[in-house]
């Protein structure tokens, strides 16, 4: 065993996977090798990508019920029309009732093709209007329990069919571990995949020697925990090394925007293409707390939705060969007031909308219920009412797409109510 390990170490790469090194290599790699004899270490997995829009997106501006007279009255400076105008800055009429923000034109073909679904009136049963609390509840998946130690995406990892997960099963492209991934199932938070290596700036020889020393030490340590994590770390590192991360070329004709979100999605696409066993990925989009000068067809909101839709659409097109295995869902902690405030913005509200993209989505439709926005129909006489519990959508998407077994613990003390968003 010792010898074969050395051979493996010296060669270092994935080329030797096929020649029977079982026993000295980490179990997840061995299984992967057994599963597939090419240089991809894993067979294809389903991947769910979640994007948290922090700050609370104004769902009524992203997807506007454009015929609503009350909304028009409540937002004299924030309302766009769906009527075609010369400058082309009108809402994109989706179904005669809802209009997509003009800066989200990248979403229009996806919606028309039936791959993009929208749920409107989605939100939390907990009425808090605190960003922190609402995000916390949405990410823990327990809207009335602050002390829940785990996040819902971490619990989803625990409900996957495989007995053993890849070290890349759960990856957040964020600098700190998001609340959604808190928990006992291994998950990685990393903002740049290139950091996944042994590094000594400006000293390549030293780096190589150090990497070799560490690999040897961790491989032989008496601590089971450190040994296993060590082995997996080095294998994962080598897998990433085989891909030229820095010079990544997306699929032809695809250009990612230069934003942080696009950069995160691009790296997720790389992981998916490498078949490293990614099953749940997480990214963030910031800047949705639009109290001031929200704008209409241009301005801060327009820039945000343009980035969101262009990043997602680039990601989707980049993965053209993998689309059957990929599903993407956006989420935001709450929506914003129906009425515009004194600084041409909107304040913290209740329901918003979210987007779900995938070949198995019954798209081309706006799900959920949005009543006429007369004062009596609003929550606390000010906000779009929550008519769909976020857990209905999250659990349907995750359970169906990832084939979770026994999903009752995904959202504890809550009974699943599918809304029929995902093809069964």
């Amino acid at each position: 065993m010792k010898t074969s390990r050395r051979v493996f170490l010296k060669s270092g790469g994935l080329a030797l996977f096929g020649i029977g090194l079982a026993g000295s290599i980490p179990p997840f790699v061995a299984r992967a090798v057994a599963a597939e004899q090419n240089k991809m270490p894993f067979n294809k997995r389903k991947t769910l990508i979640c994007i948290f829009q922090r700050g609370a997106m104004d769902g009524l501006m992203a997807v506007t019920p454009f015929n609503d007279p009350f909304l028009k009255a409540a937002r004299p400076n924030l309302m766009m029309s769906a009527a075609q105008s010369a400058n082309g800055k009108s809402l994109i009429d989706l179904d005669g009732k809802f209009g997509l923000h003009p800066s989200m034109q990248a979403f229009e073909p996806l919606f028309r093709e039936g791959r993009l679904g929208i749920v409107h009136g989605i939100g939390s049963p907990n009425t808090t209007r605190s960003h922190f609390d609402a995000q916390d509840y949405m990410e823990s998946g327990t809207p009335f329990q602050k002390g829940t130690p785990s996040g819902w995406l971490n619990r989803a990892l625990g409900l996957l069919q495989e007995d053993h997960l890849s070290p890349f099963a759960g990856v957040a492209l964020t600098s700190a571990m998001p609340r959604s991934f808190y928990g006992d199932n291994p998950s990685v938070a990393i903002s740049n995949l290139q950091d996944f290596s042994i590094q000594m700036r400006g000293n390549q020889a030293g780096t190589n020697m150090a990497a070799k020393s560490f690999e040897e030490l961790y491989d032989k340590t008496a601590s089971g925990l450190l040994q296993e994590a060590g082995r997996e770390s080095f294998e994962a590192m080598k897998i990433l090394k085989t891909a030229d991360l820095k010079n990544y070329k997306p699929a032809e004709g695809v250009t990612y925007p230069g934003s942080a979100l696009a950069n995160a999605l691009k790296q997720i696409a790389q992981l998916i293409k490498m078949n490293v066993g990614l099953e749940v990925a997480f990214a963030e989009s910031n800047g949705w707390d639009t109290h001031f000068n929200q704008g209409t067809d241009n301005g801060v909101f327009a820039r945000n939705v343009a980035d969101l839709s262009n990043s997602i659409s680039a990601f989707w097109n980049d993965l053209s060969a993998y689309q059957d295995d990929v599903m993407l869902m956006t989420m935001t902690e709450f929506g914003r007031t129906v009425r515009q405030n004194g600084t041409r913005g909107t304040d913290h509200g209740r329901a918003s909308c979210n987007f779900i993209l995938g070949n198995n989505v019954q798209g081309g439709k706006v799900y959920g219920r949005v009543d006429e926005l007369s004062e009596d129909n609003l929550e606390d006489k000010r906000d779009l009412a929550v008519t769909t519990d976020f857990r209905s959508v999250f659990s349907e998407v995750a359970t169906q797409h990832l084939h979770l077994k026994n999903s009752a613990t995904l959202f504890p003390e809550w009974k699943q109510e599918n809304i029929g968003l995902i093809k069964t």
């Binding site: 329990q145 002390g147 571990m177 590094q199 020697m209 150090a210 997996e232 001031f292």
Partner: protein, 623 residues
């Protein structure tokens, strides 16, 4: 009675007397049974230091043996070192001594600055959010002319002081316990509402009582603005009290003839009522996380009732204009039960004056502030709390899975000494279980412990702590920013995962090779400037210095082949070129040598390499 018999009978047989059992209030005495566990003085000192400091400094084991282990531990429990050198290092940080109110005045939040700038006509409403340099400059000028500073400066000073205290404080146990209790009573910088109050929370609530009494600590956290905001109790209010009933009676009467006015008034009153409400978050977490534990034996009904007891526990208003009114009001209402204590306010008009029953005991009616104090005191010394807290302490200081017998001993002390934290620690270290082989090096260092410990191991100088914070965050522990009230989990599995582990190794390499800005490690000084004869000698010498009192034979043996690599010298030469710059003659000379004593610069590079590997090694991840 049963308990006393069980313990005292065999002891009576052996010693002829047993004092404590008959005088359960007598505090435990320190006794270190390490010899019975097969440890010598140095090994025992190393173990003590690994448990009650952020890592031993190079000469500390000898110093503790010289001082006497018990004497050292006593001095740590009393935390009486003056820490002059630390104080002078902290002198540069002006914000960490500010009161909560001063913090609010000096570090307004961005949106507050924007609002004020609009009110003062410095910027126009329409320009808010603009990315133009003029807008930015206007805001910056406005802040500077009003003496406002960005909140990130406050957070940075706060984080820096924690790093400096952990590295340099002589009162190491106090600082370790401060980390422990902060994490136990976790609040988070990620929650904007409470973030301003967190520096004072650690400074005034946690640190001074970290080695005090658990009840006091619990009550102090309950009354702190940081906790009141973090778990929302500041907003928890009821109208079930005489103040509101008076209003109820008053309002409809004068309005009786004119319906419209009355309707408006009543509607407004109802709206205020509706916005008020009991918030159970704190009541739930105080039982689940702070005292009894999730399986402690309380029900949802107990949570609801406890929340009623704690209604009206809120924050004394900070804004100056509201303050005078509040002062008048509280003076007027003092005899009606309002209580002010620093930034805390018990608002009797928000308190539920009715009768409540928690865990079978009645609280109230009409006892106001005293009900909450009574409840928290009762929770603090509940048997479930004793077990839960003692298990958590043993998990922190002994192993991820402390043995039941140890937790039981500690729980007994916790109860008999009414939550005296020192007494619990003394019972823990006086127990055989603390010293047994199964408890040695059983803990995995958290990223913070790894980073601070490595600096202490190398006697490195911290000139700017903040870059270290970034490393600690990258390794998975963004201090003060754990979002959930559970605090960071205290178990090795949580810290050791693929991404984090590589960063630990990189941290070791970066620290040893001087690549962490703000931190300077003088590796040759560690060995009194005796240059090791060879890379192998360096490995042996520095392993002993950095990981003392451990059997490192295997580690050394595993690393030796790599140091014997015939290509190594050349590789290191190259490395040396990269770091040493353009010293061509030296490179030329070195190329020909393979075994001779390396030149100085190259030796430093080699040393950095060896030390970096030691700090990143699996042995060093454990304590």
């Amino acid at each position: 009675m049963k308990r006393i018999q069980r313990i005292s009978f065999p002891l009576l047989l052996f010693f002829g007397f047993w004092f404590y059992s008959f005088h359960p209030a007598e505090p435990p005495k320190i006794k270190f049974p390490y010899k019975a566990a097969g440890l010598n003085d140095r090994q025992a000192a190393a173990h003590l230091l690994s448990r009650f400091t952020f890592g031993a400094t190079p000469s500390q084991i000898d110093a503790v043996v010289k001082q006497g282990l018990v004497a050292w531990f006593e001095s740590q429990l009393n935390a009486t070192y003056k820490d002059d050198s630390l104080k002078s290092r902290l002198g540069a940080y002006d914000a960490i001594n500010l009161s909560n109110e001063e913090v609010l005045l000096n570090f307004p939040k961005n949106f507050q600055v924007v609002r004020m700038a609009i009110n003062d006509s410095i910027i126009s409403k329409d320009s808010v959010g603009s990315k133009s340099p003029q807008y930015r400059a206007a805001i910056d000028n406005y802040m500077a002319s009003n003496g406002f500073r960005p909140q990130k400066d406050l957070n940075q000073q706060f984080i820096n002081q924690k790093i400096l205290r952990s590295v340099y404080s002589e009162n190491q146990l106090q600082e370790v316990m401060t980390s422990f209790w902060f994490n136990h009573f976790n609040v988070s910088l990620t929650k904007d509402d409470c973030s301003h109050f967190i520096p004072a929370y650690e400074r005034d609530v946690i640190r001074p009582q970290a080695l005090g009494n658990f009840s006091d600590l619990l009550i102090a956290t309950a009354k702190s603005p940081a906790m009141l905001y973090y778990l929302d109790n500041f907003s928890s209010a009821s109208d079930n009290n005489p103040f509101n009933k008076k209003k109820d009676k008053k309002q409809p009467q004068p309005a009786a003839p004119t319906g419209a006015v009355a309707d408006t008034l009543i509607a407004r009153l109802k709206k205020i009522r509706k916005e008020k409400g009991i918030n159970e978050n704190y009541a739930r977490e105080v039982m689940e996380l702070h005292t009894m534990g999730v399986d402690g034996g309380y029900s949802q009904q107990d949570v609801t009732e406890a929340a009623r007891v704690l209604t009206g526990w809120t924050i004394y208003p900070f804004q100056v204009n509201r303050k005078t009114k509040a002062l008048e009001r509280s003076a007027r209402f003092e005899k009606e039960g309002f209580v002010r204590d620093g930034d805390f306010l018990f608002a009797a008009n928000r308190h539920d004056a009715g009768t409540k029953t928690v865990l079978g005991k009645q609280y109230g009616p009409d006892k106001g502030y005293a009900e909450g104090v009574e409840l928290l005191n009762d929770l603090a010394i509940h048997p479930s709390t004793a077990k839960f807290i003692c298990k958590k302490i043993a998990t922190r200081f002994v192993s991820d899975q402390p043995v039941q017998s140890l937790v039981e001993k500690m729980s007994k002390t916790f109860l008999s000494q009414k939550g005296d934290i020192k007494a619990v620690l003394i019972t823990m270290v006086s127990a055989r279980e603390f010293w047994e082989p199964g408890a040695l090096r059983e803990k995995t260092k958290s990223p913070f412990e790894l980073a601070i410990g490595a600096i202490r191991s190398l006697n490195a100088k911290v000139e700017d702590p903040y870059p270290l914070f970034n490393w600690i965050s990258r390794m998975g522990e963004r201090i003060y920013s754990y979002q959930a009230p559970t605090g960071f989990p205290d178990k090795g599995q949580y810290w050791i995962n693929t991404g984090a582990l590589l960063n630990r190794m990189n941290f070791g390499l970066a620290l040893a090779s001087g690549k962490i800005s703000g931190i300077r490690a003088d590796l040759p000084a560690l060995n009194q400037y005796h240059e090791p004869e060879s890379s192998q000698a360096a490995l042996v010498t520095y392993s002993k210095l950095i990981i003392p009192e451990r059997d490192l034979a295997k580690t050394v043996e595993r690393l030796k082949p790599m140091l014997n690599d015939p290509e190594l010298s050349e590789k290191v030469n190259k490395a040396s070129q990269a770091t040493a710059g353009n010293d061509n003659d030296m490179q030329a000379a070195n190329k020909t040598t393979t075994t001779a004593k390396p030149a100085r610069k190259e030796n430093v590079t080699m040393l950095a390499q060896v030390v970096g590997v030691i700090i990143g090694s699996p042995e060093y991840q454990r304590r």
